[in-house]
């Protein structure tokens, strides 16, 4: 092993502690040196983590850059395990964008390392004001990372990406600005649409009950209280009392449907449906929502717009609101209500 020379052997112990301390203190600071590349020849490569981030970057960069999303569609970003090829790809990328707020779990440290090496590495949520973020009380430093479920908030990330690309490739700055503006227009339309359709749900039964806790931003922004069977952490599990309370909520409020996310086994909400049924209130499985990952690549649901459109339309239709069957742009495949009951 060439890597360990006699020098480090001799002082291995001291180095060990030093390195722990350094790595520990290194975590907090993440202000990479701003790269000042003015001219970029040809297409440059951008690596993104999630599909949502890649979607922004593709929209803004247009054909100027080769955009790669590490996580294929339908992958849980919390638990994504990068392999060697991902590391190589990140090492070779010109720019890296990730979602941030600890969404990428164990990869966080890698971004810090790569950024420490002078590479432009950005969390797209970095400039969203702390006040706009949802953080559980007592845990202020640990905001909920599922920002994209609030379209308004997410469009701040578009501005952030555009600004970084403009700085990186100044010659085409104009184009990026225009692209970003166009995309933000689309997002604004989407935001209005979601607000409208969710607003049509009768207020008494306007409750979003899901399997797993990922829709807090959606809840805040579109005024629909959210309840989930289990918490955020994968290992988290509900108590019997929690389930009973949920059932009582559904029954007393006459909430017509509850939802599963694509990443969770539908069986987890079946118990709630059955519980309500036993009290004489028939709850539907409202369909599958995309929470942490988008739909299949190449489909409408495989884009950020489609994903949110799908979620909003599905929720609205299942909860007795009014929305076009095929969504905002008429691109959804029929009523998105695909019941997927039983285990």
């Amino acid at each position: 092993m060439q890597l360990v020379d006699s020098y480090s052997h001799k002082r291995a112990h001291g180095w060990c502690w030093l390195s722990i301390v350094l790595s520990v203190t290194g975590c907090g600071s993440s202000n990479p040196t701003e790269p000042s590349t003015a001219n970029v020849e040809g297409r440059y490569s951008i690596v993104c983590t999630t599909g949502m981030v890649a979607d922004i970057v593709t929209q803004v960069a247009g054909d100027r850059a080769e955009v790669t999303a590490l996580m294929a569609e339908g992958v849980d970003p919390h638990l994504y395990v990068p392999t060697r090829s991902d590391v190589v790809r990140m090492q070779e990328a010109d720019i890296i964008f990730y979602s941030g707020l600890r969404l990428e779990g164990a990869m966080q440290k890698t971004f810090e390392t790569l950024s420490g090496n002078g590479r432009p590495v950005y969390a797209v949520t970095a400039e969203i004001p702390q006040n706009d973020l949802l953080a559980p009380p007592n845990f202020e430093g640990h905001p909920d990372p599922h920002v994209w479920n609030d379209v308004k908030l997410w469009s701040q990330a578009v501005a952030f990406v555009a600004a970084r690309l403009e700085a990186y490739d100044t010659t085409n700055a104009e184009e990026y600005r225009a692209n970003a503006e166009a995309y933000r227009q689309q997002l604004n339309a989407l935001d209005t649409y979601v607000r409208e359709v969710i607003g049509t749900i009768p207020e008494a039964q306007r409750y979003l009950v899901t399997a797993h806790d990922a829709f807090e931003y959606f809840s805040r922004s579109y005024r629909i209280p959210v309840e989930s069977v289990q918490g955020i952490t994968t290992e988290s599990e509900a108590g019997v009392d929690d389930i009973n309370r949920l059932v009582d909520l559904l029954v007393t409020k006459k909430v017509p449907a509850i939802f599963v996310e694509s990443s969770v086994n539908a069986a987890n909400i079946q118990a709630v449906i059955n519980g309500a049924q036993s009290q004489g209130w028939a709850v539907n499985n409202g369909g599958t929502l995309f929470s942490d990952a988008m739909g299949a690549e190449g489909t409408y649901e495989g884009t950020y717009l489609g994903m949110i459109d799908h979620n909003a339309t599905t929720i609205t239709l299942s909860l007795g609101g009014v929305a076009p069957n095929n969504g905002m742009q008429g691109k959804l495949n029929g009523a998105a209500v695909t019941t997927n009951q039983g285990k």
Partner: protein
């Protein structure tokens, strides 16, 4: 295919060296305490510690939050302290688990893995309960907040050098463990194999156990934080198990397990670069370039164990098989000679309807192919010849050898009947089993012990050796 393998392998870069080196040193640092875990029948400890890290993480998180609220840690420092607390929390709970296991095992006189099972499931459940009660809105999976990933950990360099951090950290732990093993070798050995003896020698066996458990917990948790749990659980145990198949001496087993751990890591990473791509491109998934290297390293270690299980000299399946084959050949060959000799002696009627080899096969419950193999051996050694009628007869050399055999048989019968008051009809069976292993020396001693008998208990003549 081989060409493709090496072509893919030629893509080995400095990143791969860093990954393989980090993994190898981590595996080596784990294999030392791992060896004692195997010897002390606590092999499942690695898996248990990977679970019990959860309550450690939750408690550390709550602790760091309360530190911040008390104003002892500023928001800017929070992340740094959190990382430190997470590590300390996991270590503390890990040591606690190990000690509690040891304690429950001793107090309840339970089997090791049962007491481990009770303790670690309960500790883990405590973590689950805490999560739901207190921190349900924060993503606190140990996989995210505590456990490292080997591929990305190798990117972290010691500042100012090109040495990957895990190499340094785990290398230091490896050296520390090595030092401990060397210093306390005798104590560890005696208290692992014979705690009673250890206590009477003045070695605090119980203290050694608790100390060992603490060192194990620290090593394992440190390895978790750099390379993740999968690699650690595997390389804690498998290299030692493999080494146990290859040697019986403790010091050799220890050295071998350290080497095997390093080999598994390096080889495992080489396989990561090649096998998944070759496999999945043939299965119609051309986008797959590799797989998680930690998992591949565990699998590689498992494959090495399988190889040792099959090939190891002495312990291995093949050498056991060869041994049994040899023994079978010897026994059936001896029996053929014996049967032929008895026929010549006219003490047994030669059956007409069954050939001698078939008779031997039936008597011993052996497969016919084994017996015909040994017939061929006898023919080649010129101990028997085949008459034109196809029947086997003894050659002179064969007769000598058969004589010795029959002599052994009958001497043994005489000995048994003199000393063990067995009924006569029980003598033949045991003598038949033992006759193959009574060499001239023992025959001599039996003969003098029995005052040179000429007849066995059945009244049959004990043949003399011709040259005596």
């Amino acid at each position: 295919m081989i060409h493709e393998f090496f072509q893919l392998l030629s893509g080995w870069s400095s990143l791969d060296t860093a990954i393989a080196g980090s993994a190898a040193l981590t595996a080596m640092s784990c294999s030392l305490p791992g060896a004692w875990l195997v010897l002390r029948k606590h092999s499942m400890m690695g898996d248990a510690l990977s679970h019990t890290a959860l309550p450690g993480v939750v408690l550390a998180f709550l602790f760091s939050i309360s530190m911040k609220q008390a104003g002892w840690v500023s928001a800017a420092q929070e992340d740094a302290f959190l990382q430190l607390f997470l590590f300390v929390g996991a270590v503390v709970v890990g040591v606690g688990t190990a000690w509690l296991t040891e304690w429950v095992q001793r107090l309840g006189r339970l089997e090791g893995s049962a007491s481990l099972g009770v303790v670690f499931t309960a500790v883990f459940a405590l973590g689950l309960l805490l999560i739901r009660l207190d921190v349900d809105n924060v993503h606190l999976d140990v996989d995210c907040v505590l456990f490292g990933i080997i591929e990305t950990a190798a990117l972290q360099k010691v500042p100012g050098t090109s040495i990957p951090e895990p190499v340094l950290v785990n290398g230091a732990i490896f050296l520390a463990n090595l030092l401990l093993v060397v210093l306390f070798y005798k104590e560890l050995k005696i208290s692992a194999f014979d705690p009673g003896l250890a206590t009477s020698l003045g070695i605090p066996a119980r203290g050694i156990h608790y100390g060992l458990m603490a060192v194990t917990a620290v090593t394992v948790v440190a390895a978790f934080t750099t390379v993740g749990s999968i690699l650690v659980i595997g390389l804690l145990i498998i290299p030692t198990a493999t080494a146990l198949l290859l040697s019986e001496r403790l010091s050799v087993v220890l050295a071998l397990s350290v080497c095997l751990a390093a080999i598994s890591a390096a080889l495992g990473h080489a396989l990561t670069l090649t096998v998944p791509r070759m496999l999945f491109s043939r299965l119609g998934y051309p986008t797959i370039e590799d797989a998680g290297t930690a998992g591949m390293m565990s699998v590689t270690a498992g494959l090495l164990f399988l190889m040792a299980l099959i090939l190891a000299p002495g312990q291995g399946l093949i050498s056991k098989l060869i041994h049994r084959l040899r023994l079978g050949l010897k026994i059936s060959g001896d029996d053929i000679l014996g049967v032929l000799f008895r026929f010549e002696e006219k003490t047994a009627m030669r059956p007409i309807d069954i050939s001698v080899p078939a008779l031997v096969a039936r008597q011993n419950g052996m497969r016919p192919w084994m017996v015909s193999l040994s017939v061929r051996r006898l023919l080649r050694r010129d101990l028997v010849t085949r008459q034109t009628s196809g029947e086997l007869v003894l050659t002179d050399r064969g007769r000598e050898s058969a004589k010795s055999l029959i002599r052994a048989h009958r001497l043994w019968e005489a000995y048994m009947s003199k000393h063990f008051e067995l009924p006569d009809d029980h003598l033949h069976e045991t003598a038949h089993r033992v006759e193959h292993f009574i060499d001239d020396d023992i025959q001599e001693r039996l003969q003098s012990e029995l005052n040179a008998p000429t007849k066995d208990p059945h009244g049959k003549r004990i043949p003399e050796l011709s040259d005596s």
